[in-house]
């Protein structure tokens, strides 16, 4: 009994702490003691924990390198350039701006991860909409949604993908090959639903707005990013870990400043790598391992489909989406992926669920949603149903379209 209950209680406490962040403490502050408690109580063996940590090591390193890469791309003006480009192409039209934002946000999420879209691209989109005198609501919802639903095509697009990537047994290019179609299907579905849902906001006629100031094309940074992406694809066949390619790309972007100010720049890069968060992922891995080996793991395992048939893929995706909303998508991924690791198709279907699913509550999980409602109760009118209606609509649509596209890809390529 203790085997089942204690790990679940620890996981809930760790996640509650991560959501509430008392005194602004990082989530690692609760996750490490939680993991230590489970180890000390013998609910996870030291041997299993060590194996889990060594399996997570390369993934977490990859995450840190991608975070740094996105941060450096921002320093080099890549996001400012994207914002200026969006402003120029939209020429004051809300509909054209929505189209451009969809393309840019899908590409940024795919290549530089969802973090880059949320933290670095969203403010730029807001500025572009404001400068053009356009209602920013649909475009900001769009970046928020695409950060999740467009984070499918590459292992680097989402931390969940990085965590699941080794279990698929696919190469980087193989993963991209199977997930590109679901990516396009999900983003396309999202676009159609947005055009319908926000039709009133988007109907405003285009206004002649002042031409946005010219922004220099960050040629060097864009070239490095393109080569890094190419390198991800080539690393596998050449026998290298793609994480090293990300490190190489980051070094190429940071080189000049790193040589000039090695100490300040080094500290800045370390901060961008977000080491406390990396520590959190390690500790969370151990906590979820304990949950998985307990009774709850058995329960979830019973729900997991065993074959990547169309119904099996859909069931895996829905299970992923439900768990992602109940917990958060990181523990959901850590929980589900080992249970479906026998079938690459099912692993990818779980990823569709845990990546698209968080749009249902738009803040990542139900706990987060409730917490924000409590937090905002004093200074903020209760959240409009808009978010949740849009979430329910798009998650259902994108999951169906994504699963259908995945099934088509699996059938055509003969992977199961």
């Amino acid at each position: 009994m203790a085997h089942t209950v204690v790990p679940v209680l620890v996981l809930v406490a760790v996640l509650a702490f991560a959501v509430a962040r008392p005194r602004g403490l990082p989530e690692v502050a609760a996750a490490v003691p939680g993991a230590a408690l489970l180890l000390a109580a013998g609910l996870v063996s030291w041997h299993a924990a060590a194996r889990e940590l060594s399996a997570l090591g390369p993934t977490v390193g990859f995450l840190a390198a991608v975070l740094v890469l996105a941060h450096l791309a921002d320093d080099a003006g890549v996001f400012a350039y994207a914002g200026a480009l969006a402003g120029r192409i939209s020429r004051g039209s809300p509909r054209r701006l929505l189209g451009v934002v969809f393309v840019i946000a899908s590409v940024v999420t795919a290549t530089l991860s969802l973090d880059a879209t949320v933290v670095l691209l969203t403010p730029v989109v807001l500025a572009a909409a404001v400068r053009a005198g356009i209602r920013a609501r649909p475009h900001l919802y769009a970046t928020g949604h695409l950060a999740n639903s467009a984070s499918l095509p590459l292992p680097v697009s989402n931390l969940t993908n990085l965590l699941a990537f080794p279990a698929t047994g696919l190469t980087f290019a193989g993963f991209a090959g199977l997930m590109t179609l679901p990516w396009l299907a999900a983003a396309g579905t999202e676009y159609l639903l947005f055009r319908w849902f926000f039709r009133a906001d988007l109907a405003a006629p285009a206004r002649q707005s002042p031409t946005p100031p010219a922004v220099a094309v960050p040629r060097y940074a864009l070239t490095v990013l393109a080569l890094t992406l190419l390198g991800f694809g080539l690393a596998g066949p050449l026998g290298a870990d793609p994480a090293w390619v990300a490190v190489g790309g980051a070094l190429a972007l940071a080189a000049v400043r790193l040589v000039r100010h090695p100490v300040t720049e080094g500290v800045r890069l370390l901060r961008a790598a977000n080491l406390p968060f990396c520590g959190f992922v390690f500790a969370l891995g151990i906590v979820v391992l304990a949950v998985r080996s307990g009774g709850l793991g058995g329960l979830v395992a019973a729900l997991v489909p065993d074959r990547p048939s169309p119904a099996g893929l859909l069931a895996a995706a829905v299970l992923g989406a439900v768990l992602a909303n109940l917990l958060n998508n990181l523990p959901a991924t850590l929980m589900l992926v080992p249970l479906v690791a026998h079938s690459p198709g099912l692993v990818l279907a779980v990823l569709l669920g845990v990546n698209i699913g968080p749009n249902l509550t738009y803040v990542g999980s139900l706990a987060n949603l409730l917490w924000r409602q409590i937090l905002h109760a004093r200074d903020h009118p209760p959240l409009a149903w808009d978010f949740l209606r849009l979430g329910a609509l798009t998650v259902a649509g994108c999951l169906l379209a994504g699963v259908a596209a995945l099934w088509l890809g699996l059938t055509l390529s003969g992977v199961s």
Binding site: P26, V119, P123, A127, R137, A147, A200, P205, N274, N368
Partner: protein, 155 residues
């Protein structure tokens, strides 16, 4: 006569043009910031757990407030006579209705969707305001009104 002119991005010039044609009226220019716009940004960040930067909240707020000030100033200049400028923040449709207390006329624009002429041609907030405004309402098209030929044939 006291009038409130509700301004929204993209469609406000038509409202100001309509208000100019009521030269004697004592005008209040109103704009409302929808807090959900900011929530779209900060909510998405919350989903990242510790990877979301906390300082974005204040940046988004200051961008939206700055945009509101600019819009009200630009509209006042276009109106060409003294007007009271009122910037609010909250659930848009309810703030607009509340701001109409004690006024004689509300000027507002349709959203501009010519593809669905009929009962559902107004967006959600506009529909709510038209239904609940405690005063007379002047509803203008942001661009040209539809031609008579768009009228569906009688059943």
């Amino acid at each position: 006569m006291r009038i409130v002119v509700w301004l929204t991005e993209g469609t406000w010039p038509a409202c100001v043009r309509a208000a100019r044609e009521l030269p004697g009226a004592e005008a209040t220019l109103l704009h409302v910031i929808d807090p959900d716009t900011a929530e779209a940004v900060t909510g998405a960040q919350a989903g990242l757990l510790g990877r979301g930067a906390a300082q974005l909240d204040s940046t988004v707020d200051s961008v939206l407030t700055g945009a509101q000030d600019d819009l009200l100033r630009e509209a006042a200049a276009a109106l060409g006579r003294p007007a009271r400028l009122e910037g609010r923040r909250g659930r848009v449709e309810r703030e607009v209705v509340a701001a109409c207390a004690g006024t004689d006329l509300l000027v507002l624009a349709r959203d501009g969707d010519h593809s669905r002429l009929g009962p559902r041609s107004l967006g959600h907030a506009t529909r709510f305001v038209v239904d609940h405004a405690p005063c007379r309402v002047l509803l203008v098209w942001p661009d040209d009104p539809p031609a008579l030929s768009t009228l569906p044939s009688a059943p």
